[in-house]
């Protein structure tokens, strides 16, 4: 298992969103040396009139031709120094097709463009991304609208809550950081109404800082990565505002864990991470419960 070259499934479609996914795939592949599996998913024809009315016609072969054009274009977006393969997948839904592909290729991530438009490069989650965020068996990478891998990733930010799951997320992060030289930052988000409850603020900040200190020391105890580590408590009236109050580098990625509601081995985005996405300007990777990044 350890000798295998890791690979990431990239959910491609011939739109801006598909391009965003490729760019994030490229950025992550550069970081970890993984290969990319560029996948395009087509709906399996079913024996219902919609598909049969055309008289058993070979509509699918036109789709295959089209897929080859689209995938050739997709591959052209991947720089020559990275290894990528292209695949046409038939499944009942795009979501199922991506899961099938990840299972088949033993992929360690599924990377998907978050959605179209949205305000200021932010996330407006599409239905495929949304399904993945609630049931993927492997970590999911989400590219914000318009993301471009114009250089190496400069920092990884690990968003840790105070809940029980954080040591697990740290283990994942430790594995991810092995052999990497990028900066690492631990952040925790604090939602507090500073107008009505100014006194609570100081206590919250202290608690947040204490938690991060614990996280930091735990990390140094388990990881031998010699990278600069910083911490930050983000405060805001809402989690969205707290996220915005942080400084974000151009090519930074955020790592979050799954909610405790997730079934073992599955991704399930929690409420905080979900709201964080609303104002996050950079890509995000969500890790399943009991899973590695």
């Amino acid at each position: 298992m350890n000798n295998r070259i890791a690979n990431y499934v990239v959910a491609y479609e011939a739109t801006e969103r598909g391009r965003d996914a490729i760019e994030l795939g490229v950025a992550l592949a550069r970081l970890t040396g993984a290969e990319l599996r560029l996948c395009i998913v087509f709906p399996t024809p079913t024996a219902v009139p919609a598909d049969e009315m055309a008289g058993g016609a070979d509509f699918e072969s036109l789709l295959v031709d089209q897929a080859e054009l689209w995938l050739a274009e997709a591959a052209s977006f991947v720089p020559a120094d990275l290894i990528s393969t292209t695949h046409t997948i038939w499944a009942d839904s795009t979501f199922e097709g991506l899961i099938d592909a990840a299972t088949e290729f033993l992929s360690s991530r599924i990377i998907v463009g978050a959605g179209r438009g949205g305000i200021l490069n932010r996330y407006t989650i599409g239905s495929v991304a949304n399904s993945l965020l609630h049931a993927s068996p492997v970590p999911v990478g989400l590219a914000p609208h318009g993301f471009r891998a114009e250089g190496p990733i400069s920092r990884i930010t690990c968003a840790v809550g105070t809940g029980l799951g954080w040591p697990e997320l740290l283990e994942s992060t430790t594995v991810l950081m092995e052999g990497l030289t990028v900066d690492l930052r631990f952040v925790t988000l604090v939602e507090i109404d500073t107008v009505w409850d100014p006194s609570g603020l100081a206590a919250q900040i202290t608690a947040g800082e204490a938690h991060l200190a614990e996280v930091h020391s735990y990390f140094t105890s388990v990881s031998d990565a010699a990278v600069p580590v910083t911490t930050a408590v983000a405060i805001g009236a809402t989690f969205e505002a707290a996220t915005e109050s942080l400084d974000w580098q151009e090519l930074e990625i955020v790592v979050v864990g799954s909610s405790r509601l997730a079934s073992p081995g599955k991704v399930f985005i929690g409420a905080t991470a979900s709201r964080m996405l609303d104002s996050l300007p950079v890509p995000l990777i969500i890790v399943p419960v009991e899973g590695l990044i």
Binding site: G18, V48, P49, A74
Partner: protein, 519 residues
């Protein structure tokens, strides 16, 4: 799994742990062996959409052949069967999204092929508008039954409201088709079972009225109804057969299901037989029941009443089923709504193929990157079908009757072209074996000749202002004018397309040939 050749150069030395990355998840098409006899029969019945078909076709058929409806339905199946046999041979030999268009082009060259494709598109667009029209009528009828306010049903007769409601239905169905969504197997089973139950219930209720002496215009059963040759004249016979082709339209798909069935050698044939058996039994039961209940007179609920002919169940389900008539509304509404959505697929895919072969402007050949459906073609089909409906609804009070008659004409046209394409394409093999002779030569030839005769007769007869609903423009029957506008409009568009981009017409994109070239 298809791996794009250009992009996959780096694939060879990558490391897959799976036994074979090219298996399993990427099978194109239906998973083999997923459909049994019942499943295939359900698909067949669902494509025919009996509840919708009957309400739209019984009236015009009664108008043409009087009490001989059961007989004409029986005989009308023959050309459908003959052509479908040839259709199956072509589909096995050259599966292609363009169906009639591609096959006719391969056999007869670009000009005939283009018109064959045009005929298919026009027929399906006309049926889309008719489906939506029936759905609109039943929508308001059902609302009036739910709220027990008869006035609501009359909203369907208000032309602007009717046209706008139709637009809403059309937009909804187009959106679903554009998104590439379709009903799941279980939904389909439920819809088909529901239709069958309601139609049988309706027939039994009608016969009960007859037995109790409460029928509207009781007509004694007569075995002669089943005799197609008792139709008064050939014109009536031709009109009846043309309508019968419409009522079996969709049946042919059971023949084309192959790999996806559990036993490809036996299942499609058995399913086609079972489907046609069920459909025959149902159609005969219902037509006999309606004849015995309503008679063919011109009274309020009589089959001869032009006001109810375009949508018979809407008028007579109430008196026959009483409060349970709402079930009939539901059955027809669900049947026409699901057909509306699935019928979009045919013309959209033909236009897609025509776009890709440059027989249509290139945009028609585009596939939606998000939904992987023929996006542009689907939207165009919806806009044109709705436009057609809006014009027709304004022109003619009995729009449904006339569109069904026009539709029969269009189906005869493109089925005829397809049948002859089969004969010509396989000409070299026609006498190579008994099977080839029967399926590749004789069946399509006879089918094609029958359809040609019906088509020609319908064109000549429909010139009379009395034809169909009796709507006419300048003394020419509306059905004739419609048919000519649609066909000649196709010729004009074809010439325009030739001027814009002659590549297809010069045999550069799709070559004329015969089965020998592919051997």
């Amino acid at each position: 799994m298809t791996t794009a050749p250009a992009a996959a150069a780096s694939d060879s030395d990558s490391d897959f742990d799976g036994p074979n990355p090219t298996t399993g998840i990427t099978k194109k098409g239906l998973s083999a062996g997923s459909i049994g006899l019942i499943g295939a029969t359900v698909v067949g019945i669902s494509c025919i959409a009996p509840a919708y078909t009957l309400t739209a076709a019984i009236g015009p058929t009664a108008d043409a052949v009087g009490t001989q409806i059961p007989g004409i339905f029986l005989v009308g199946f023959i050309p459908m069967l003959l052509v479908a046999l040839g259709y199956r041979e072509l589909n096995n030999s050259m599966p292609d999204s363009g169906t009639s268009f591609t096959w006719a082009t391969r056999a007869f060259g670009p000009w005939v092929g283009w018109m064959g494709g045009w005929g298919l598109i026009v027929a399906t667009v006309v049926v889309l508008s008719n489906l939506a029209g029936v759905a609109v009528d039943f929508f308001y009828l059902m609302l009036s039954q739910v709220f027990q306010t008869p006035a609501i049903a009359d909203l369907a007769f208000n032309v602007p409201i009717n046209i706008l409601t139709c637009l809403a239905f059309m937009a909804g169905a187009c959106y679903i088709a554009y998104r590439g969504m379709s009903a799941t197997k279980s939904v389909q089973y439920v819809l088909v079972a529901f239709q069958l139950i309601v139609l049988v219930w309706f027939s039994i209720a009608a016969l009960a009225h007859v037995a109790n002496g409460t029928a509207f215009d009781a007509l004694a059963f007569d075995a002669n109804w089943f005799n197609p040759f008792a139709v008064p004249d050939f014109s009536a016979f031709a009109a009846g057969v043309s309508l019968s082709i419409f009522i079996f339209w969709g049946w042919d798909v059971t023949l084309t299901m192959n790999e996806e069935t559990m036993n490809p050698k036996k299942t499609p044939g058995r399913a086609a037989t079972l489907t046609v058996g069920v459909i025959f039994a149902l159609y005969l039961l219902i037509t006999v029941a309606i004849l015995m209940y309503s008679g063919t007179g011109g009274g309020e609920f009589g089959l001869g009443n032009a006001d109810i002919q375009g949508n018979v169940f809407a008028a007579i389900a109430g008196p026959i089923m009483g409060p349970f008539a709402i079930l009939m509304s539901l059955a027809v509404l669900s049947s026409s709504a699901s057909s509306l959505q699935s019928t979009f697929v045919g013309p959209a895919r033909t236009m897609l193929a025509m776009g890709q072969y440059q027989a249509f402007p290139k945009r028609f050949g585009s596939i939606s990157p998000r939904f992987k459906s023929p996006g542009y073609a689907t939207v165009v089909a919806a806009v044109v079908a709705w436009g057609f409906y809006a014009v027709m609804r304004t022109l003619s009070t009995d729009v449904l009757t006339d569109t069904i008659l026009t539709l029969g004409m269009m189906i005869c046209f493109y089925y005829g072209v397809t049948a002859f394409a089969c004969v010509w394409y396989f000409r070299a093999q026609a006498f190579s074996s008994l099977r080839a002779f029967l399926f590749k030569f004789l069946s399509p030839l006879v089918g094609g000749v029958i359809l040609t005769v019906i088509f020609a007769t319908t064109i000549i007869d429909s010139m009379s202002p009395d034809y169909g609903s009796g709507s006419n423009i300048g003394g020419l029957g509306l059905v004739f004018i419609l048919g000519m506008v649609l066909l000649l409009g196709g010729v004009v568009l074809m010439l325009l397309m030739y001027r814009a981009n002659p590549a297809f017409f010069r045999n550069q994109t799709l070559k004329t040939g015969s089965s020998l070239d592919d051997a």
